[in-house]
């Protein structure tokens, strides 16, 4: 069998990643929606519980992280949906390359489009919530390590529910409990940082979760996609 030009795994990864980014950039509201949601939720909290700086500073890590979870959740549904609806998913599943590579590319594209905007805007919002400046760096690190975990774990749920007409509720039920470890260690790291304590341990655990998610979830995502398209 003569093949014209066999792609290396890295080129396949680049191909799928750039395609997904291109599609998202031509469909901008999908990218802006989770970010706006994130900003709006966080700005609503001071209005709801009053502007006392101490109270806000105390709950700021929780607010930022819960908002990040919900914003990610909001964006998960579309990760595989359009590919499923127009048949592109079948073509991806039938490509002779290992599904690990293109699944990885798709999840990382999702993280670039939702995770990175959250990381960039978080310091501004943290300032608004009167979070002590010592915690800014911790917030950045937890988001940098934690948001990809959210994308990877969320992708399993998105893949499982892609064939359902209204999979949104089910998706939240499946995924939110799995987000709890990330939430606990991330907020605890930011809390520790605000008291001037070391928070390397919490970061290490989130890092371990990231490595685990990066290496293992693509297999689960592929299986889930196969079940959904069966």
């Amino acid at each position: 069998m003569e093949q014209g030009n066999v792609l290396s795994y890295f080129n396949l990864f680049k191909l799928v990643l750039s395609r997904d980014l291109k599609i998202a950039l031509r469909h901008r509201d999908d990218v802006l929606n989770p970010l706006l949601f994130f900003i709006i939720i966080i700005t609503l909290f001071p209005l709801g519980i009053g502007p006392e700086p101490q109270t806000l500073a105390k709950i700021a890590p929780g607010i930022i992280w819960v908002s990040a979870l919900l914003a990610t959740l909001l964006s998960l549904d579309r990760m595989f949906k359009s590919d499923y609806q127009d048949g592109a998913l079948e073509q991806l599943l039938l490509s002779p390359y290992p599904s690990f590579i293109w699944v990885l590319a798709k999840v990382i594209a999702h993280w670039i489009l939702t995770g990175i905007p959250l990381i960039i805007t978080a310091p501004v919002l943290a300032g608004m919530l009167n979070l002590p400046t010592e915690s800014f760096l911790a917030t950045f690190w937890t988001l940098l390590l934690g948001t990809p975990v959210l994308s990877f774990i969320g992708a399993i749920g998105a893949a499982l529910t892609v064939g359902l007409k209204k999979g949104g509720v089910l998706l939240s039920l499946i995924i939110l409990p799995l987000y709890i470890p990330v939430l606990i260690f991330a907020t605890s790291a930011i809390d520790a940082a605000s008291y001037g304590l070391p928070y390397g341990g919490q970061l290490a655990i989130i890092g371990a979760l990231l490595v685990g998610a990066l290496t293992l979830t693509p297999f689960a995502i592929t299986s889930a996609l196969k079940v959904s398209t069966n």
Binding site: N5, V6, S95
Partner: protein
């Protein structure tokens, strides 16, 4: 005379070799059964798809034509039975099978946010034809001057043509085409039929469904009838 004998034997063995070559089985189903929503679509299906075959899967709506094609492509699992490609179960050699397979489902897998050329280039790269000339292929299917148009702005027939342009490049042994003529005009249908015949003449095997009469030499097309069962 001994030399004469030798020659005869050589001739006979050549003849046998040619015979077996022309009858080479690419794809074979063994006791294939498909059950969907407690309804048996087909049962104990034993079919051989050989080199040079054009097989039209026919039957009323809901008879299981698409289900059969999806099972043959490895996208869906049969309730019972196996599919063999070159005498080996496809599930044991998925990568090799996919290299030799072109499947075009009833959804074209074309992204509306990408241009015709970007779509075709992506689909070709995904199947290992990365260095082919997408522009020329689009011209072959009558999409000259539409290369840079977003697929979302093109008609349903033009979208299908983008996907079908792969037929002009693919040298996969097995083509599985689910309703390839949907939304295609008469002239386009003729061109695709010629392409199918050419592929079969070049040693390929084409399995397709269509409700239209195929305009091909009747001795080349075999029909596989599926009945609607209750």
């Amino acid at each position: 005379m001994p030399w004469e004998n030798n020659n005869t034997i050589e001739f006979i063995s050549l003849f046998i070799a040619l015979q077996s070559l022309s009858a080479q089985i690419y794809l074979e189903t063994k006791q294939l059964t498909c059950i969907k929503q407690d309804r048996i679509l087909f049962e104990d299906l034993n079919v051989q798809f050989r080199r040079g075959d054009i097989i039209q899967v026919a039957g009323p709506n809901g008879a299981g034509k698409t289900s059969l094609l999806r099972i043959l492509a490895g996208l869906a699992q049969p309730y019972e039975g196996t599919i063999e490609f070159d005498q080996n179960n496809i599930n044991e050699q998925l990568e090799l099978y996919r290299q030799n397979l072109l499947y075009l489902g009833h959804l074209p897998g074309v992204k509306s946010e990408l241009t015709a050329q970007e779509n075709l280039e992506f689909q070709l790269s995904l199947h290992g034809y990365g260095n082919s000339d997408a522009e020329a292929l689009l011209a072959d299917v009558g999409l000259l001057a539409f290369e840079q148009s977003l697929a979302g702005q093109l008609s349903a027939g033009q979208n299908r043509r983008i996907a079908l342009a792969q037929l002009w490049q693919s040298n996969a042994k097995v083509w599985i085409l689910d309703e390839p003529f949907t939304a295609i005009d008469a002239k386009g249908v003729e061109a695709i039929e010629q392409k199918i015949l050419e592929h079969a003449n070049n040693g390929g095997c084409v399995i397709l469904t269509t409700h239209q009469e195929l305009n091909l030499p009747s001795n080349r097309v075999s029909r596989l009838e599926l009945d609607y069962r209750f």
